[in-house]
């Protein structure tokens, strides 16, 4: 009887000892790495670098925490903190992907609107250019403005094609914005010159 009890105690001790050896979160690390890779593929490193960097830094921290626990005596290992950080990597990566998608959509809407605005501005500017008076700098200055409008139009065509071909929206945005500003400046310049001449003619009458 006593012999049997002793065996049972020894066996239980062995089971408890083995069970208390925590397991390294290998699958969680792989999942976290995959989520970072997915965020990168989505373009999060370019569109939302802050969020992407936060996820990458969390992964580094988690990997080191796992290695730290691995270095400990088996009975004393505890991966809870590392697991929490790994879970946050996945959360941060998902957030980065969502933010990237939202930012891309917002930029696409912005660029699409800019293309519409620019198309209108180009049409207006061409009409204004035809009406513009030839002053002392007249023809040469108007020719230069004509070239400016032509260049802006080329950019508009490029960006329109880019939108249709789903090209990188960040690049397209960087191209169209200065073109819109340029077209607006031309519009103001031409409108002012025309108004000035009209004003001058009225005053003479």
């Amino acid at each position: 009887m006593k012999k049997g009890l002793l065996k049972l105690v020894a066996f239980s001790f062995l089971v408890v000892t083995l069970a208390s050896c925590a397991k390294a979160p290998v699958a969680e690390i792989e999942a976290a790495k995959a989520s970072i890779e997915a965020a990168k593929t989505a373009g999060a490193d370019r569109y939302v670098p802050e969020s992407f960097n936060a996820a990458s830094e969390a992964l580094k921290s988690a990997e080191a925490a796992v290695a730290e626990q691995d270095s400990k005596f088996a009975l004393f290992r505890n991966y809870d903190a590392a697991k929490t950080t790994l879970a946050s990597v996945a959360t941060l990566s998902t957030k980065a992907v969502e933010e990237t998608t939202a930012k891309k959509a917002a930029l696409k809407a912005e660029v699409t609107q800019a293309v519409t605005d620019l198309t209108t501005l180009i049409t207006d500017n061409k009409a204004l250019l035809a009406k513009a008076p030839k002053g002392k700098e007249g023809k040469a200055a108007l020719e230069a403005i004509g070239q400016e409008i032509a260049v802006v139009e080329t950019v508009n065509t490029e960006v329109t094609a880019g939108l249709a071909n789903n090209e990188d929206i960040l690049t397209l945005s960087g191209k169209i914005k200065p073109a819109v500003e340029k077209a607006k400046a031309i519009n103001t310049e031409l409108t002012d010159v025309i108004a000035k001449v009209k004003g001058g003619k009225k005053a003479k009458k």
Binding site: N53, E68, G135, A140, G174, A179
Partner: protein, 371 residues
């Protein structure tokens, strides 16, 4: 007192367990510890470097730091595979320290490179802007091809796209756009420079005419007109001093001398007013006829004919005037010099028959003009 075998066994087992625990405890205490604090430090430095875009501005240091960090982590994992008392973290420590140094260098060098890139970028922007200013101030009157003007405008827009990126902190994209602009502008500049260089071959002749005319005006205490084609200006000198300045327009092919009738070029040389045409006598409000062709023009014309550069039936032309109806903003005359009616009124009232009229390409050298 004799102990039973069971009790003896328990005592022996107890001693064995105690010794084992003690040995383990000693080994655990004595075992090499991984450099966790250094890893944390390195993570912080790498994070800081990444946020400051050191991967872009100091890629060699940043990548080296990342590589060392990953190597240290891998070595740590390898050591963890060993039995705990056989683990040796010396290599891990060396690697992570090296990663820390590289990460620090990435931070310092990244910041310095970013600043230097910014400075260089702004310097280059200024240079390009001055080229564009030349285009607007000096080259605007030149009879340039559409493709040349387009290159200038593309260059200008690329520069603006670059500045847009620069203001958002994206210096790399800003530099890329700047380079795009530089390429376009340098292509345009090359054509313009070739045209101007060729035209300015006559500069010493122009200088000589200019100086002679101004001296004559001083000696005779009288008026002299100097027309500077490149600036599209006519200057009225009196007693050797500049007294008036007017904007003028020429023939379409004003770059270069006049060679024959109908070439739409404005002649270059030292002339004088030979007739004044009041309102009603001139097709262009009022006019002052000059003595084109002079002896030099005739000599050049005859030489060109002899050499066959112009046909034998070609005439040299004449009736070159300084007249009114200008202010069109275009080079529209058949080779004359046009002023606005109010300006020709003023000039007409001050200038007499016999007044020297010197038409030159430029008063200043090409280098001065472009600077």
């Amino acid at each position: 007192m004799k102990l039973g075998w069971k009790k003896r066994l328990i005592i022996i087992l107890g001693i064995l367990i105690s010794v084992t625990v003690m040995v383990y405890a000693v080994l655990i205490l004595a075992m090499d510890k991984p450099p966790m604090a250094e890893f944390t430090t390195c993570q912080g430095l790498l994070g800081k470097a990444k946020r400051a875009n050191a991967d872009v501005y100091a890629p060699e240091y940043y990548q080296a730091a990342e590589k060392k960090y990953q190597a240290a982590l891998l070595e740590w994992k390898i050591q963890n595979e060993n039995v705990f008392f056989l683990r040796d973290f010396t290599k891990v420590k060396a690697l992570i320290l090296s990663a820390i140094i590289k990460a620090q260098e990435a931070n310092v060098s990244g910041g310095a490179n970013r600043n230097s890139l910014k400075m260089n970028y702004l310097k280059e922007v200024e240079l390009l802007k001055s080229k564009l200013d030349n285009y607007h101030d000096v080259f605007i009157h030149l009879p340039l091809k559409v493709s040349v003007r387009k290159n200038y405008e593309f260059g200008k827009l690329s520069l603006e796209q670059g500045l847009n990126a620069f203001n958002k902190g994206d210096i790399m994209l800003a530099s890329k756009r700047l380079n795009d602009g530089k390429v376009k502008i340098s292509v345009a500049d090359k054509e313009v420079n070739a045209l101007l260089k060729d035209y300015f071959n006559n500069f010493s002749k122009w200088q000589n005419w200019f100086n002679t005319t101004v001296k004559q005006s001083a000696l005779n205490k009288n008026h002299a007109i100097i027309v500077e084609k490149i600036k599209h200006k006519a200057y009225l000198y009196y007693n050797g001093k500049l007294s008036k300045e007017y904007d003028v327009e020429f023939g379409r092919n004003w770059i270069g001398d006049k060679h024959y009738a109908g070439d739409k070029a404005t002649p270059e040389g030292m002339y004088k007013v030979i007739k004044k045409k009041s309102s009603g006598d001139s097709k262009y409000y009022k006019a002052m006829l000059i003595n084109y062709p002079n002896d030099e023009d005739l000599a050049l014309f005859n030489m060109n004919k002899r050499q066959g550069t112009i046909s034998k039936n070609t005439r040299i032309g004449g009736l070159i005037e300084i007249h009114g109806e200008g202010g069109k903003g275009d080079d529209w005359t058949s080779g004359c010099v046009a002023l606005t009616n109010s300006e020709i009124d003023e000039l007409f009232s001050m200038v007499a028959v016999g007044t020297p009229v010197t038409i030159i390409g430029s008063r200043i050298s090409l280098a001065e003009l472009l600077n």
